[in-house]
Structures are given as C-alpha cells and as structure tokens.
Symmetry: C2
Subunit: 217 residues, 2 copies
C-alpha cells in the first residue's frame, strides 16, 4: 500500500488520519519541523494502537519518502511550511485537509484567504503537485477513537480527476467514511469553511459533528 | 399561524417553501415585481395542492402584510429588491434563503459578496430587521414534490437568538426537515456556498442532495 506522509502531522488531525490509515495497512510518516514533537506524536499514536507502522520524520522527509502527501498543518503555518517543500513534493498527489479558521469570543469563524481557500493556496505554492481537498469536515476527536466508525461523507475536490479518484479509496479505508466527488478545486472554500459551522454546532451541543449527503440516487 | 411573505417568491425555492409551509397551515404571500408572474406562481402552487392559502402580491405587500418575511430572490436581484423594502420590513424576522452562486462551463461556484454572504448583505440593507439565514441547502425540486419528506438538516444562523429560535418551528413544519442552531450570521457564507458543492454533486450524480449532520449527541 502507498506510503503516506503528513506535513504537520503531529496535531489531532494528522495523528487521527495517520492512525486510521495505518490501521488500514498504510505505512505512515508523521512530519514535523521539530523531531521531538514528531516522536511524541508517534508515541501518542502507538498509545492508541501499538501495532501500526507509523514513524516520526521531518516534513521534508515525509514529502520525499511518501507516495501521497497529506497536509494537516494549522492554516497559519501552511505557506511557510510549503515554500520549502515544493521540490520534495514534485508532482505527487497532495491531500489538503486544512481549514482556514479562527476563533474569538463569538466562536469559530472562517478567515479569508487570498487564493480562495487553503487548498487553492497550496496548489499555488506547489504548482506541479496534484492537490485535492479532502477530510476537512471529519472530526479529529472521532478519528482518535478507533475502532469506532465515523459516520461521515468526505467531499473530494481538485482539478485533476485522476487524483480525486486516487484519494477516494483512502477515504473508504476508514470505517464509516464514504467519498463524494465534488469536482473542481475552487469548491474547496465552502468545504473548508463548513468546518467553522460544524465546530459552532459542536460548541452548542457537545457533539463531534460531520456531514452526510442525503438525496443522492 | 404567522402569515409568511416571500420577496421574489415566484421561483422554485419560493414556490417550494411557500407550498410546504402553506400545507402546514400558514397563509402565504408570494411576492413579485410583476403581478402576472405572481399569479402564475400561485397557479403553479395550486396545481400541486389546490387547498393551500397562497396568494400573489407585490414584494412590498408581501413585506407589509407578513409576520415573517422570506427572501427567495436570485442573488443578483437581492440588493435592488431590498433597497425599497426596508421600511415595509421594519424590525420583522427575515429568513434569507439566498445563495450567491454563479454557473459556468465548469459548473456551479460561489461568487464573492463584499458583505461576506447574501444574508449579511441583506442585514446591512435592512438594519432594523432580524435576519436569519436558513433553507439555503434544501432542494427546491424536493420541496415541489409533496408529500414526500425531505431528509435534511437546516442550519440556522443569525445574530438575534430569539429570531433563530422563532425560525426553528417553521423548519420543523416541513416533513423531514430538522433545524440546527448554527449561531452567528457571519457563518452564513459557508452555508450558502455549500449549495454550490451540493449542486456540483447533483450534476455528477443526478441527485437532489441536501445534508444531515452526524455525530451530534
């Protein structure tokens, strides 16, 4: 199975996706600028499942060694992190899971991104890469509770149809998740920003919400 | 039951919501700039259900006579329509159902709105009104197929908590719809723009998609 590398893989989203995809059989590299943080993240993942093939590496090594690169860094750090990684990533498939959000006394809210969305920004910074937006609306809390299935549809957008199709089976390897092809990358903004709505609902209800699409044939 | 007035009520969204809420017992006024179009819309609604209390009026009359005002006008016409209606609407509850979308050869996509979203724009144009965004993601096609239930959650956002709470029972009166309190009006953008994603998925699948939230307590 493809080796998966995570840029900024030490937070809950990176650890959660890494854990679940490693449980499905993928070798996983959790990348960080800080080797100690990468090791700490791997220890946390092994605390959930000691048998998974997960290692801590630098972000550059995660990109160089991986077949598919995941970006799971907080939005504020994305541009700085990706500037140095374009060569290591080359024309690989990049799965951008970033949500451009901020929080204030009124709760979570989207922040405006000049490129339109975090995913489109990453495509600009990685012009040769085949960027796909996916997994933005999946609860990291739920990812970190294996083996519980996560009842959610994962909207996949990107301008390379083959890349979208290649990401769909990765979605299906996490119990309960179903991929939905949402088309071009310019639709990443509403998908990313929807996470602010889901977090606002979580705050009111104590839930860990995701979405399912209804009304499909 | 409250009388409901629809600004731009002659399109599929206005007719669909008007039909369903009239079937629930509300008197409904479908407003239009053009009296002939309003009459035509009422005839279409009565073609689906001859027993509902639905009448065609001017947009101004829909606002003056209604207890709650719905805005179901295409985004391109919203600003011009609302400019003259602020006095007629006053401090009433306004349910903004507008999606700021456009379509080109690559499909549906969000259009940028200076105010952030169509709902926020309407709040700026109607400063005394209590604007709530709701129903943006509900399929008009499904609304126009009574008595079939519509399996969807309706995200309700607005800065007036009482107004959000007042709109929730209106949602519940349409079979299958459930209200979800999403908090402040600044979250209207992702909710509106999500409709572009749903329409893109519809185009690929032939469905009439809406969303349900999962992972709530």
């Amino acid at each position: 199975m493809e080796m998966l590398g995570f840029v900024g893989g030490t937070g809950p989203q990176g650890r959660g996706l890494g854990l679940r995809l490693a449980q499905a059989g993928h070798p996983v590299l959790l990348g960080s600028r800080d080797p100690a943080k990468a090791e700490e993240a791997v220890a946390k993942v092994h605390g959930k499942d000691p048998d998974v093939d997960v290692r801590g590496v630098s972000n550059a090594e995660a990109c160089t060694a991986a077949d598919v690169v995941f970006i799971t860094i907080p939005y504020g750090g994305q541009a700085a992190a990706l500037e140095d990684l374009a060569d290591a990533i080359g024309d690989k498939i990049v799965v951008n899971c970033v949500n451009a959000l901020a929080f204030d006394e009124r709760g979570p809210h989207p922040v405006s991104v000049a490129a339109g969305s975090a995913a489109e920004e990453s495509q600009q910074l990685l012009p040769r890469a085949r960027v796909v937006g996916a997994f933005q609306n999946v609860s990291a809390t739920k990812l970190l509770r294996p083996p519980d299935p996560i009842e959610a549809d994962v909207l996949i957008c990107g301008d390379d149809e083959d890349a979208r199709a290649a990401v769909a089976p990765l979605v299906e390897r996490i119990p309960g998740l179903h991929p939905v092809d949402a088309g071009p990358l310019r639709l990443a903004r509403p998908i990313e920003e929807l996470t602010a709505v889901l977090l606002a609902v979580n705050k009111r209800t104590g839930g860990h919400s995701s979405i399912r699409l209804t009304g499909l044939p």
